[in-house]
Amino acid sequence: MDLFKIIFLAIFVNNVALTQFLGIRTMLGESNNIASSLRMGGIIMFLLILVNFVNYFILKYFLIPLQIQFFQLIIFILLIILISQIIEFLFRKTNSKLFKKFTDYFSKITTSSIVLGVCLLTFKNNIAFNLIQNLIYTISATAGYTLVLLVMTGITDHLELTRTPEGMKGIPISLITIGLLSLAFMGLTGIIK
């Protein structure tokens, strides 16, 4: 598949947050801070690139030849936890304050649907993507997620200042906002045939 098509589809048409409903919980619980949202998106992208890279080889040379694809889920989730523990450990070891800031997010995202979800989406049809397409897709999908995350961060800021009905305050109004975003993005389908 054309690389540009993959990128466009992953970010706009089949956005993982808006059409596949991944990582909504993390989006709702985000602090109203652009920097922290960017950090969240960045760490998800980094983790996923590593995980998908390893997964590609495991799937191709281990699971498929042995026809034990049903093992996929267990391997994926264990890898996610393992790799995130390793990265967290390495980050903590460095003396850089920057890296230490990232470690707060690991506990949130390891068991969030976004990481496992993008993993499953990449390998949905076994190995439909080759390695390069795999990496491009992972980056685009997480970029799309970060985009929505940033937009929601900005909007939540304003939402706190508006008058919302008592029952709608907090999660319901955020959900409706995400729904409207999803509606807006739906207008972009059909641009690429």
């Binding site: 808006l18 996929q72 709608m168 999803s182």
Partner: protein, 198 residues
């Protein structure tokens, strides 16, 4: 806490989907039709009950430091089992649910229940709590599923009851509709529970 209360709180007062707002992902993704919602609910309840039972039985063999990995591992095994069982008995529903069955592993309901409950309690309370939570989850999904399917598709359980050319309110079947229905259900239920409390 009496067992009955343990069981019933999962259905209404601490409904995982509408009150505690856990398990958002399947609630939005899978509720495009009532049958899919029921299928997902049953699968999640199955995984919830069995993995919690196993963990509750083995809780003294699980060292504290690695408990997350072990919990996730056990849950993943049961999700795979549920997936295999579904593929053999209800392959159509399995295909319709797609990637959301493996995503049961990271369903916040299971993770939080395991952490809070199975880790500390004996088997019987664990069983009833999980059963209650599972049924509450399934019921919540069924409600959302029926609303979305009736309004968005003019059908119930894939049986179309409107005329051939009736225009249904499509947005409910599409992703935006999921968010909107969910938001209103949360608001409604929270409000009515608050009213009851006062």
């Amino acid at each position: 806490m009496g067992e009955l209360q343990n069981f019933s709180k999962g259905i209404l007062k601490e409904n995982p989907v509408f009150i505690m707002v856990l398990g958002i992902c399947p609630a939005l993704a899978v509720t495009t039709s009532l049958i899919n919602a029921i299928g997902m609910g049953i699968a999640t309840t199955f995984v919830l009950i069995f993995s919690n039972l196993v963990i509750s039985v083995m809780k003294n063999l699980i060292p504290d430091k690695i408990r997350t990995i072990i919990f996730v591992f056990i849950t993943a095994v049961f999700v795979t089992i549920a997936d295999l069982l579904m593929k053999s008995i209800f392959p159509e529903i399995n295909k319709a649910l797609g990637i959301y069955i493996p995503l049961i592993v990271v369903n916040s309901i299971i993770l939080s229940r395991t952490e809070i409950l199975a880790n500390k309690n004996k088997i019987i309370p664990t069983f009833f709590d999980s059963l209650g939570m599972g049924i509450g989850f399934t019921l919540a999904l069924m409600i959302m599923g029926s609303i979305r399917e009736i309004l968005g598709n003019g059908s119930i359980c894939n049986y179309v009851f409107v005329g051939e050319n009736t225009r249904t309110i499509l947005v409910f079947i599409l992703p935006p509709g999921a968010f909107i229905v969910y938001a209103y259900m949360i608001a409604l239920l929270k409000k009515s529970l608050n009213n009851n409390a006062q």
